[in-house]
């Protein structure tokens, strides 16, 4: 498709890697409340995240996500480790990975960007703040920023 007109109503495949049940629910609800139609795939640990990305195991039929949201503290593999793996893989490298974490640790922020994370978001405590965060996320990644087409 030619032209640069932004697709304001793009639907994204978002991979959410989060181990905390409550945080998953909150996140999904936030997207819902914001009226966003993106498809959110949830994995519960780092290894599963990689499986999904590599489309292996259980997730052999999984679609390639457009954006990955990574929590840092996860069982098996941490978000940072997943990030590193992703950036090592020539295919997966292209997928922007944004950290979504409770951590306010400056070191985590630094390490994430050193490992080529595309963003770092801190999960707020109040839900309405979470809503605002999701809206902002959507505005940038779904509306403003262009993503590579899948499968090329």
């Amino acid at each position: 498709m030619n032209g640069q007109t932004p697709d304001t109503a793009r639907i994204l495949d978002i991979l959410l890697a989060e181990d905390n049940e409550a945080d998953v629910k909150i996140a999904l609800r936030a997207f819902e409340k914001a009226g966003l139609k993106h498809v959110i795939h949830v994995v519960r640990d780092g290894q599963e995240a990689l499986d999904f990305l590599r489309q292996t195991g259980r997730h052999s039929q999984a679609p390639r996500p457009d954006v990955v949201l990574l929590d840092i503290q996860m069982p098996k593999l941490t978000g940072l480790q997943v990030l590193e793996e992703m950036k090592r893989d020539p295919e997966l490298r292209r997928i922007p990975a944004v950290m979504l974490t409770s951590s306010r640790n400056e070191g985590d922020i630094r390490t994430s960007y050193s490992s080529y994370a595309s963003g770092f978001m801190q999960k707020p405590i109040a839900f309405e703040d979470f809503e605002k965060l999701v809206e902002g996320f959507n505005r940038y990644w779904a509306e403003i920023s262009r993503l590579p087409k899948k499968g090329s």
Binding site: D23, I26, R29, K33, S102, P124, A126
Partner: protein
């Protein structure tokens, strides 16, 4: 502490003392057995006197004892030597004989001895010096004793060696002082040996020693030279004066004698020219002048009268004189009788001065053999003839008074034979007296000898000066057969074909021109020598002392500097040894520390560059060496230093053999203290023999203490470092705990809050008012907890993070803070004023920002709900000398004074959440930030009057180096 001489030194002293004692004993035997070979060796040489030998014997015994013990019993021997020496000197000085010289032995020969049995003045002086030293040495301090010994030895040595050199080169002045006894070769040798022994007994390498010896030697030479030169000069002057003073009378005598004889001749000539003279004429022309002026006792006219003319002659004279004149002659017994018949007579016709009752008038001189021989000789030779000296019988009371008869032959006027003689009796003594009457008394005794026939001379007249003091006796001088006084002078006086020798002997008064000046010169210059020696000794001693002090100072400053430079322990150990060896006689040393196992180990081993101590080094560093049983171990246990002057004598030094093999002779060890605990030992060794040196020990002990303190400091520093590391670790753990805790607390909090929201959103309508109220409380609780967690994190961050200080413009920072608080300020309706200019403060910008946020935020919050007036917040600055003071003032509700302290406590609030929101952590954050900057925070406030929060930042802030920033 009196130092004892080393073995070599004691040996030298013993040998010296022994040899001198042998010489002394031999000489004393010689005196006692009257064997001159033993005492003088050569018959021409001066002997060593008995007293000198005795003093040598006693002195050498004393010196031997003095070198062996520190408290030698030399008092008795020393006082004998001193007495003999001093008294002899006094005898010379006062020219008085105390009888000391022949006290023990009669002097039966005195070659070159001025007073029998008396030793040379130089020898006496040496014994005096030696005696003084021996008597005083026990009572003197070590220092003075050393100097005394040095001086005594130097004096003895100088006199001895100079005399020996004099003997060798034939310079008599080296061992002879004026007329006094010459110093014998034996004495000179003994003095040299004894002096050497004294010097060697405590010889040290000090420059002072050599300086004193050189000065004394030079001083002795110069003093003797001064003496001799002075005396020589005086002698020259004396001789010149003597020559002058003796020439004058001789010249006058010659003149007068000549004149007298010429007058005789002219008398004869007068008679010759006039055929016949009368008595009156004789008297007038010849008489008075002759008698008074010319000291000829008597002139007489003796015509030649033949037998035929006798009667006529006698009658003529009788008629002239009015008395009876008869030619008479002397009998052998001296009586007179009429002259017998003879072919010719030689009667005395006229006499001047005329004497009453003189039997001479008319005496036929042919009966007087003395006169007649001269007359006959004169007639034969045809000229003035003077007789040999004739003993004058008339003057017999005055001893052997001699007179002369002078005869001048008178010719007949027209030639022809002699008609008679003019005779003169020369009273030589009277002649002498009259001739010299006008001269001042020069103090010379004159003796006139007739040496024409007898070279030994016949004394004919003498002139004795009044310049004699005390009892005076004329010595019967003889010109050849007896030695004449050396100060006398001889002049030759030829008169009328006879030769006279005038002996001029100076009297005591004349000798007074010999002053004591040369002696004074000697004493003064010797005094100056001794003073110079003292002075040089003191100077070099002082300079050595200064050098020592300088070296000690070097040690102290060097060690101090080393300890301050914060080098490693090994560097310090090596450095200390190097400094010690450089500035002291030691050349090898070790630095031993107590290791963790409790055993001593070698931290550093130092050998001065240029030295080698292979065996000792390997013995010291060998791991088999059990040092706790050696010198080092002893010091470690006792905590006291130890000085080993002679390492071969230490009982149980492990490394002794190696040390001796490498030539080490002395050693020292001293402890390194920390308070009363010995933590190390330093030991040093040297090849040179070292006597214990108190000052050096003090310096070393001080160094040991300094090193001990340094080690203490090291210990403290490392302990501190450990503590700091522990603290850091704990802090780190705490921080990560706090961090993790607050991080982990967020997630469930989020769940609570969010699901409470969901509940409200999804099922809110289903709830009643109470249910909705419950939900709202839940959400409030969540909000509160979130704020608390944030504050906890902030507080934890404060202690973890240290930002570097920078110069912060407070005005711009304040404005930044106001921007950040913008919303809160606007919504509160409070007026905020910044009083320009705010200073530039060196501080942590980020934290200062936090502080301002808290203070200004509080100020705004607590003045936002005012009724009746608008809230106003002011930010200002007060310049106090040493610190910056900033304040935040509000016109809010104020704080009761009793809460002024408490509110800085963590989470402390004075109001409920409904009244004013907040966690109560703000002020404790402010306090912590201010205290980190070494400042203070305080409050002025009262209820209803607003509050002013002051905080101060010191101007000369010292930035604390903090750990790496961690977040």
């Amino acid at each position: 502490m009196n130092t004892t001489p080393s073995k070599t030194q004691q040996l030298i002293v013993s040998i010296g003392a022994l040899s001198v004692s042998c010489i002394a004993l031999v000489v004393m035997t010689g005196w006692l057995t009257r064997d001159s070979t033993l005492t003088q060796i050569h018959a021409e040489w001066a002997p060593m006197q008995f007293n000198a030998a005795l003093c040598f014997l006693l002195g050498s015994i004393a010196i031997h004892m003095e070198s062996r013990s520190s408290r030698p019993p030399t008092l008795l021997l020393g006082s004998i030597v001193l007495t003999v020496g001093a008294l002899t000197v006094l005898q010379y000085a006062l020219a008085f004989n105390f009888g000391l010289d022949e006290l023990f032995v009669r002097a039966h020969f005195h070659t070159k001895t001025s007073h029998p049995g008396r030793m040379a003045p130089g020898t006496a002086f040496c014994f005096t010096a030696l005696g003084i030293y021996l008597v005083a040495c026990v009572h003197l301090t070590q220092h003075l004793a050393r100097l005394g010994r040095l001086l005594a030895g130097a004096i003895l040595f100088s006199f001895g060696i100079i005399a020996l050199i004099g003997y060798a080169l034939g310079i008599e002045q080296a061992y002879a002082w004026e007329e006094y006894t010459r110093m014998s070769v034996l004495t000179a040798s003994a003095l040299t040996i004894l002096g050497t022994a004294l010097l060697a007994s405590r010889w040290s390498r000090d420059r002072a020693y050599k300086a004193v010896l050189v000065v004394t030697l030079a001083g002795t030479v110069l003093s003797l030279a001064a003496l001799h030169l002075n005396r020589g000069a005086e002698l020259l002057a004396f001789r010149a004066r003597l020559s002058l003073d003796s020439s004058l009378p001789v010249w006058i005598l010659q003149k007068d004698a000549g004149m007298a004889l010429r007058y005789l001749q002219s008398a004869g000539a007068f008679i010759e020219s006039s055929q016949e003279i009368t008595a009156e004429e004789f008297e007038r022309f010849i008489g008075k002048v002759a008698g008074d002026v010319l000291s000829v006792a008597q002139y007489e006219w003796v015509p030649l009268v033949s037998q035929e003319n006798r009667k006529t002659f006698e009658d003529d004279i009788s008629s002239e004189s009015g008395g009876t004149y008869m030619i008479h002659e002397k009998n052998p017994d001296g009586s007179l009788r009429v002259a017998a018949d003879r072919p010719s007579y030689y009667p005395v016709k006229y006499m001047v001065p005329a004497q009453r009752h003189s039997s001479r008038l008319g005496l036929d001189l042919s009966s007087e053999p003395g006169s007649f021989a001269t007359i006959r000789s004169a007639l034969e030779r045809g000229r003035l003839t003077v007789s040999s000296p004739i003993i004058s019988h008339t003057q017999a009371r005055a001893g052997q008074r001699r007179i002369y008869y002078a005869a001048y032959p008178v010719r007949a006027p027209q030639g022809g034979g002699y008609i008679g003689i003019v005779g003169g009796i020369v009273d030589t003594q009277g002649f002498l007296d009259r001739s010299l009457a006008g001269l001042p008394d020069t103090g010379l005794d004159l003796f006139i000898f007739d040496t024409t026939e007898d070279p030994d001379g016949i004394l004919i007249a003498q002139s004795i000066s009044k310049g004699h003091r005390g009892h005076f006796e004329t010595r019967p001088y003889r010109l050849r057969s007896q030695p004449l006084p050396s100060t006398s002078a001889l002049q030759t006086l030829p008169i009328a074909g006879r030769t006279y020798t005038v002996l001029c002997v100076p009297t005591e008064r004349y000798m007074l021109q010999f002053t004591a000046l040369p002696w004074i010169a000697l004493i003064v210059s010797y005094g100056m020598t001794v003073s110079t020696a003292f002075f040089i000794y003191w100077l070099t001693d002082r300079s050595d002392h200064l050098k020592r002090a300088k070296r000690f100072l070097e040690i102290q400053t060097g060690v101090g500097r080393l300890l301050q430079e914060e080098n490693s322990l090994g560097d310090i150990a090596r450095g200390v040894l190097q400094i010690l060896c450089r500035n002291s006689p030691w050349s090898v040393g070790g630095f031993w520390l107590v290791g963790p196992s409790g055993l001593l180990y070698c931290s550093a081993f130092w050998i001065s560059p240029g030295h080698q101590y292979r065996r000792f080094e390997s013995a010291s560093l060998s791991p088999d060496c059990r040092h706790d049983q050696s010198l080092i171990g002893r010091i470690w246990k006792s905590g006291h230093h130890e000085w080993i002057p002679d390492i071969s004598k230490t009982p149980d030094s492990l490394r002794r053999e190696a040390a001796v093999a490498d030539g080490i002779s002395s050693g020292i060890g001293f402890p390194i203290h920390i308070r009363n605990r010995v933590v190390g030992v330093i030991d040093l060794y040297s090849r040179a023999h070292q006597e214990p040196d108190l000052e050096l020990l003090h310096v070393l002990a001080a160094a040991g203490t300094a090193i001990g303190q340094y080690l203490l400091r090291l210990e403290a520093v490392s302990r501190l470092e450990e503590q700091r590391q522990d603290l850091e670790r704990v802090n780190l753990e705490l921080d990560s705990f706090v961090y993790t805790a607050s991080h982990d607390l967020r997630a469930p909090l989020r769940a609570i809050g969010s699901f409470a929201d969901f509940l409200e959103q999804d099922h809110g309508p289903k709830l009643d008012a109470q249910g909705r109220d419950y939900l709202s409380e839940i959400k409030k609780g969540v909000r509160r907890m979130a704020a608390l967690i944030d504050d906890l994190l902030t507080l934890s961050r404060l202690s973890r993070i240290h930002n570097p200080y920078e110069n912060v413009e407070m005005t711009s920072l304040a404005k930044e803070v106001l921007d950040r608080l913008g919303f809160d300020i606007d919504s509160s309706g409070v007026e905020v004023v910044v009083h320009d200019p705010l200073p530039t403060i060196r501080c942590d910008r980020i934290k200062m920002g936090e502080l301002l946020i808290n203070l200004i935020g509080n100020a705004v919050k607590y003045s936002s709900k005012l009724s009746g007036r608008r809230g106003r917040v002011e930010i200002g600055y007060l310049d106090r000398d040493a610190e910056h003071v900033l304040y935040v003032r509000d016109n809010g509700i104020g704080i009761e004074p009793k809460y002024h302290e408490q509110i800085f406590g963590m989470f402390k609030r004075l109001h409920t959440q409904e009244e004013y929101e907040g966690t109560g952590a703000g002020l404790s954050i402010v306090k912590r930030i201010v205290e980190e900057h070494r400042g203070r925070v305080w409050l002025e406030s009262s209820p209803g009057k607003g509050s002013t929060f002051f905080f101060s930042i010191p101007k000369n802030i010292i930035e604390r180096p903090g750990p790496e920033n961690r977040s």
